[in-house]
């Protein structure tokens, strides 16, 4: 139990002035019973400190945007190519730096999308398992196991993907090409190694716990009356889930997927280890290749000169804008839903 300090102690404190003045003032009723501001000199200080801390949070998000823009401008000025359509990344060229976000942005979206396509069905299955299928006592332990996946640092997933998972994925790629090679996404004939598929699988594993935890939270909140009504009408468990749980949870699940997308878009170091670091735009998933904005920053930072650093900051600004948009949208969905649930309950 948390220790609770009961306020009786206040008599020993220095400013028992407060207690005395409260006793002397006439009996108050209603809102007037709240502590008066003049009683203690510390009150405005404390209020100002906490307000300041709150404002700091606002200031940080503004400062992130501001400083990224300021530091990105020199490189964008020096760029000889169109930043939004150019694919190559040669910002370190002292005379004619050419670089653009096109290949990186497409690579980021491709890797994240494929990762979500793999992660979301599994995550929803696990979330249902934890909320409506597993025995109540077991569910807590199982949820903890999924949380363990979230606790593994991304560098460890990257190392695991590069040194271990690359073998199985190479076999999988060869098999996919042999049997489904007519599809453009499995078109590459090899060699297979660091690919979009490998990156997406690693990313899917990393996104899985987030989507699971958030959707489980919504599934659990399904009103018991809806669930019991479905069961009372003779629904099987799956019919209950399909008719009562899933419709209720849809906006929340959507928000969970978007928050997972936000996480996937920004993932850096694991992808820096398992993507091929190329600058082509291609739908092929299994051949050597793949890149993302964040992975490119980690890969290129070591060799970057002043313009190179500035160019990487410019790409980071794009990433910041994309993730901010995704997160804001997801949060608005969550907030709207919370208000709806609040008014219904």
């Amino acid at each position: 139990m948390a220790q609770v300090t009961y306020p009786v102690k206040v008599r020993d404190d220095r400013d028992d002035q407060a207690v005395r003045s409260a006793a002397e003032s006439p009996p108050l009723g209603g809102g007037g019973a709240l502590p008066l501001r003049r009683r203690s000199g510390a009150e405005p200080v404390f209020r100002a400190l906490s307000t300041g801390a709150g404002m700091t949070v606002l200031a940080i998000i503004v400062a992130i945007a501001l400083f990224l823009v300021v530091q990105a401008v020199p490189a964008l000025r020096a760029d000889r190519a169109n930043f939004f359509t150019e694919r190559v990344w040669y910002p370190n060229d002292p005379t004619a730096p050419r670089f653009g976000i096109a290949a990186l942005a497409v690579g980021t979206l491709l890797t994240s999308t494929v990762a979500l396509l793999m992660a979301v069905p599994v995550a929803l299955g696990i979330a249902l398992c934890l909320s409506h299928y597993a025995p109540r006592r077991l569910a807590g332990a199982l949820a903890f196991v999924v949380d363990l996946l979230a606790a593994v640092p991304s560098i460890v997933f990257g190392l695991w993907g590069r040194d271990y998972l690359v073998g199985p994925v190479r076999d999988l790629s060869a098999w996919l090409h042999a049997h489904l090679g007519s599809l453009p996404i499995f078109g590459s004939g090899g060699p297979y190694g660091k690919s979009v598929l490998l990156g997406s699988i690693v990313l899917a594993i990393m996104v899985l716990p987030i989507v699971t935890a958030l959707s489980r939270e919504v599934f659990v909140q399904t009103p018991a009356t809806s669930r019991e009504a479905a069961l009372a009408l003779g629904a099987t468990r799956w019919e209950m889930v399909r008719t009562a749980v899933l419709p209720y949870a849809r906006p929340g699940v959507l928000a969970a997927i978007m928050l997972g997308l936000g996480r996937a878009l920004g993932e850096t170091i694991a992808l820096a280890l398992v993507l091929g670091n190329t600058f082509t735009i291609s739908a092929d998933l299994i051949g050597n290749g793949g890149n993302s904005i964040a992975a490119n920053i980690a890969n290129q930072f070591g060799e970057a000169n002043a313009t190179g650093r500035s160019a990487l900051i410019a790409s980071g600004l794009v990433l910041f804008a994309i993730t901010l948009a995704v997160n804001v949208t997801a949060r608005i969905v969550v907030y709207r839903r919370r208000e709806f649930v609040g008014s219904a309950g």
Binding site: D163, R263, L265
Partner: protein, 359 residues
């Protein structure tokens, strides 16, 4: 008087026909046998173990579905298949977890020796067998420590504002921004500190040179930890019963003192849990440290001067070495890092279980 003779015929049609409870196990055994025979031994579809498993699961699902449809009807069949799918999704998620754990232990123990925890990488090249992560552990501990010293007061104060003082638009805006900030990618936090502290502020102090340092890494980690700490503190403060606050007000105690002496102590357990989870996340972060700490093969105890390493950065560096000594060092460091993070996570969960507030 007549006596009723004859046997009572049970109305079987009133009870739905059910498959016996052992039938899923039987179907599973059959599916596994068929899959092994056809794929593994018969060589259908190439015949790897992974493929055998996939075929076995597919056979199990169709077999169970068909059996249930024949005996119990279509609705029950769908229910059984859905249940099987939900449980297999969970099993699927266990695979990477088990695989990561097994690989970590198998690859990580080779360099788990005294040298690893007592030596740095100074004067050790990619082709030397010795060397350790002492400098990196020092870096991680100092950077995370400073980040905690920054974020805990700031995060708790911000949460106090949102829950206790804030009213209307500003408080709601801060709450929203904190939520959105949890989604800021770690690399962006690193770039922000690079663009703000390393390239703009430190050159002024440092006669023009950008100052890569452990403190810069701590700042970047703070940007990542602040929303987590604020968010969890907010939630804990909301759980403190209003009666505690009202009791304090009734005794005429100032609001600030109520918050500091009644509300915060009551929420302390939950706040500590949130901070520990934030630490666990921050300790594993590589990207921001890579951008602003600079990396250093030698031991540097001073986080404010000169570049510093960290455990995660050490893993990244050693993993990139094309030698037979680099990757084993990376794996041992990964094992160390995971052990550290897991210890923090488990401790935080246990603590949160012990200090649940009455609602």
């Amino acid at each position: 008087m007549t006596t009723v003779t004859g046997t009572v015929v049970p109305r079987r049609d009133l009870r739905p026909r059910r498959l016996p409870s052992w039938s899923p196990a039987l179907v599973a055994a059959l599916a596994a046998t068929v899959a092994v025979l056809a794929v593994r031994l018969g060589g259908l579809l190439g015949g790897g173990w992974a493929l055998t498993t996939v075929v076995a699961v597919a056979l199990f699902l169709t077999g169970l579905g068909t059996a249930s449809r024949l005996v119990e009807g279509a609705r029950s069949a769908r229910d059984r298949v859905a249940t099987a799918l939900v449980y297999s999704a969970f099993t699927l998620a266990l695979l990477p977890l088990v695989s990561v754990a097994a690989t970590l232990v198998a690859r990580g123990v080779s360099r788990l020796d005294g040298t690893f925890f007592s030596h740095s990488m100074r004067n050790i090249t990619a082709f030397d067998s010795a060397g350790g992560a002492y400098h990196a552990i020092v870096g991680t501990v100092e950077q995370v420590g400073i980040a905690v010293m920054i974020t805990v007061p700031l995060g708790v104060a911000a949460a106090v504002y949102v829950v206790e003082y804030g009213r209307g638009g500003l408080a709601r805006a801060i709450q929203f921004v904190v939520d959105v900030m949890t989604g800021v990618p770690s690399i962006v936090a690193g770039l922000f500190v690079l663009a703000f502290w390393v390239l703009v502020v430190t050159p002024v102090i440092n006669d023009g040179r950008p100052g890569y340092s452990g403190f810069a890494a701590a700042l970047a980690l703070s940007v990542l930890m602040l929303p987590t700490v604020t968010r969890s503190t907010e939630e804990m403060l909301r759980l403190v019963p209003a009666t505690l606050r009202e009791g304090a007000y009734a005794l005429g105690i100032a609001k600030w003192k109520t918050v500091a002496r009644v509300v915060l102590p009551a929420a302390r357990g939950g706040i500590v849990t949130g901070v520990m989870l934030a630490i666990a996340r921050a300790a594993g972060e590589t990207a921001p440290v890579l951008l602003v700490a600079g990396g250093n093969p030698a031991i540097n105890f001073n986080p404010f001067r000169d570049s510093q390493a960290s455990l995660s950065l050490f893993i990244y560096d050693q993993a990139g070495l094309a030698s037979k000594y680099g990757p084993p060092r990376a794996w041992t460091a990964a094992l160390t890092l995971v052990a550290l993070v897991l210890a923090l996570t488990v401790a935080a969960k246990l603590l949160s279980r012990r200090t649940r507030l009455p609602r």
